[in-house]
Structures are given as C-alpha cells and as structure tokens.
Amino acid sequence: MSPDAFQPPKKSFFQNLKEVMYGMASHDMSRYALRTRASMEHLFILITMGDMIGIPILPPYYSLRLLPYVVPQISTWKRRLLREKDVSDAMF
C-alpha cells in the first residue's frame, strides 16, 4: 500500500519510527476511513444507478453522464448490495 514498500530496505531510524507510530496510532483509523469511503461509494452508485437493480431513480438522463466513472465498481456494488440485508447496514 505505502509507496515505501517499493523502496530499497535501507531505512533510517526515523523512517522506521514513523512507520511504527503510523501502525500503532493511525493505521486502524485510516482503514476504518477507507471502509467508510467504500460504503459511501456504494451508496453513491445506488442513488445514481439504482435503476440497474430495479430501484427507480430520477432522473436517468444525467445519471448516464456519471456511468463511465463507476463502471469498474458496478459488479462489486451489486454483489455487496445483494449480500447486505439493508443498504443502510453498510453505512453504520
């Protein structure tokens, strides 16, 4: 994930300390934030492309403009939506 992973293993003490601190303090937070972000992404696709799974969403004309940007997420979105009992479960 971190760009550091691709660099040669020669790291300074501070570099190491920084990563340890990150792991202890904020890794969980950022993981949580990323998860929330992903849930929101799915919510976003739902309110723009809901038609795709039979939920009529107004208005289709402009949602087509957004379609190209979400093409890669469509299949994971569908899978996830069908797995969840309630869409709002994904939010909380």
């Binding site: 904020s26 950022s30 934030a33 990323l34 976003f44 309110i47 795709m52 289709p60 004309y61 087509l64």
Partner: protein, 324 residues
C-alpha cells in the same frame, strides 16, 4: 397593457413563452409573435420543447431535427429531435467508457443499463431540456420564443429543474463527504494531495446546465410568460389552478391572451341560434375573464375564418395581436 406595449416597455424580456392547455393556440401565438418581432428587425428564434412539435406544420416547412432553420429575414425556427439527441448522447457515453478503460466493447451489463435508461419516459423530456440549454446558452438571438408543451407537461418540465437540482445537491454532498474521507486517509498516510474527483467535476457541470435552464424559466427580468385561454368554463378553471402552481415555481406571468373570441358584432346580423348561443355564452365568460384577470389580459384574438398555417395567415394574426 397591450402585447405591443408589454414588448416595447420591457425590451429586456428576451425569453417569451406561451403556455396553456393543449390546442388553444400556443404554437400559433408563438409563431405570430416571432413573426412580429422579426418584422420589427429583431433576430428571433422560435423553438419547440414539445416532442410532438407542430412548428413544421404552422410554417409549412420541414424543420424537424434540422437545427435552426431560417424562415424569413430575422426569423429562425427549430424543432428538437429528441430521439436523435438521445442516440448521440448514448454514443458519447459508450465512447467515453471505451476510451476510459481501453475496451473494445461496452460490457453487457452496462450496455443493458444504457438502453434501459433511454427507454424511461422522462428521458425524452430530459433530452429536450438539455438541448434547450445549448440553444439558449449560445445567445445568438435577440429573442427566444418557447413553444411550450401543454400545461400538465409544462409543470413537469418546470418541476424537473427543481427535482434535478435537489438530486444533484444531495449527491454532490455525499461526494464531498467521500472526498473528506479520502483526504483524511491520505493525511494519515502522509501522502501528497489526492487526485481530483472526476465525478465531482461532472456533477458540477450537470448542475450548471440545470441552473442555466431553470434560471431562465423563473427570471423576472428576462422572461415573459403568457397564458393562452379561451372563453370557456373548463379552460378558465384549469388556467386559474395552473397559474397558482406556476406562481409557486416562481414563473413570472406577464399576461393572458384570450383566443377564439367570436366577434360580438355578428349579433347585429341575421345569424342562426347556434351561433347566437355561442356568442352569448362567450359573453358570460368574457365578463368572468375580466373579473379574474382584469388588466392582465394582454390581447383578445378573434376566431379567424380559417386555421393559421403558412406565413400570410401568420402575418394576418400578428397584425391582429400587435395592432397594426
């Protein structure tokens, strides 16, 4: 105030609309007004937002889907071909998907969605709505005359602006919140700036399109909206109701034009009871119209001896409406 006075005292009102129930003469008045303004030396575009447009019929010229077609000096007319517009739009979307992901073919699932979305009933109206933005934003003409759809549809058309706007606001908010999370993560990871959100940019573009269109419809300075009525009970009741709804959407109503008035002078002649009854009935409703709308009636247009098609008849009507 007469129609002529309204136009002369408000030269800044460049967007002219005639609305009313179906078949009362919206297209006819749009054409006559366009004709009059053009003959005053103004550059005028009259265009139809109705999928079943009838400008082609009134000008007796095939203009459907051909862009702005010149009818005479200073006068252009345009009928939007919604189907063609939608097809072009679909192709743009497909091409964008292919380009963005380097595909040879749009994935089945996505293709199905594109086709299903285009079959929605709102699609046609939305496409026209969008095309109108292109027409109006260009701003090549002194006057734009909207040949509107019948009342119910016109309300839908108006409310569409508001619905779109709210929808866009909601998803823009969500998108912005998503962005905050993204930024938080990159701050935590001490990464550089996150890349620009293409969807947010797209949403802002959509919003600007919608605002451009609905701003005009509700602009008190630049827009004049006229109701077309005839002296009959049902029409008066419906128009009153509609006027209330239009006012709610902040449409600036500039006046009412009464159409199909059978001339009172006929009463002095030998006429059959059938016609006499009609004139008497109209007389009653004319009093009602004066009570209801009073000074707001901009013109009374008599029932003509034949229907209005072709330039000579349009000219005749324009002379009656604008009193020359």
């Amino acid at each position: 105030m007469s129609l002529k006075q309204i136009f002369e005292s408000h030269p800044e009102r460049r967007y002219i609309m005639f609305g009313g129930k179906g078949g009362l003469g919206k297209t006819t008045f749009s054409a006559a007004t366009a004709y009059w303004l053009a003959s005053q030396g103004k550059r005028v575009l009259v265009f139809s937002v109705d999928p079943q447009a009838s400008l082609t019929d009134i000008f007796q010229m095939d203009i459907f889907g051909k862009g702005a077609v010149k009818i005479m000096d200073n006068l252009w007319a345009q009928e939007i071909d919604a189907d063609k517009h939608i097809k072009q739009y679909q192709n743009e979307i497909r091409q964008k998907i292919l380009d963005m992901y380097g595909l040879d073919q749009v994935p089945d699932e996505i293709e199905q969605y594109i086709q299903a979305a285009s079959a929605e009933p709102a699609m046609e109206e939305s496409a026209i709505f969008d095309a109108v933005v292109d027409i109006v934003v260009e701003g090549n003409y002194d006057y734009y005359i909207y040949d509107l759809v019948p009342l119910g549809h016109a309300l839908y058309y108006l409310s569409m602006g508001k619905v779109y706007d709210e929808w866009i606001n909601k998803i823009t908010q969500l998108r912005e919140e998503m962005r905050e999370y993204e930024e938080m993560v990159s701050r935590l990871k001490r990464e550089k700036e996150t890349e620009e959100d293409a969807i947010l940019t797209e949403l802002q573009y959509i919003r600007s399109r919608i605002n451009a269109s609905s701003r005009i419809l509700t602009d008190r300075e630049k827009t004049a909206f006229f109701f077309v009525i005839i002296p009959e009970e049902m029409i008066l009741l419906d128009t009153q109701k509609a006027a209330g709804l239009f006012a709610k959407f902040d449409v600036p109503i500039s006046g009412y034009v009464v159409n199909r008035v059978v001339p009172q002078e006929l009463m002095d002649q030998e006429i059959p009871a059938y016609l006499r009854n009609r004139i008497e009935m109209q007389g009653r409703y004319m009093t009602e119209i004066q009570q209801m709308f009073g000074k707001d009636v901009a013109a009374y247009v008599p029932e003509l001896e034949r229907d209005v098609t072709g330039l000579p008849m349009i000219e005749k009507l324009a002379k009656i409406m604008y009193g020359e």
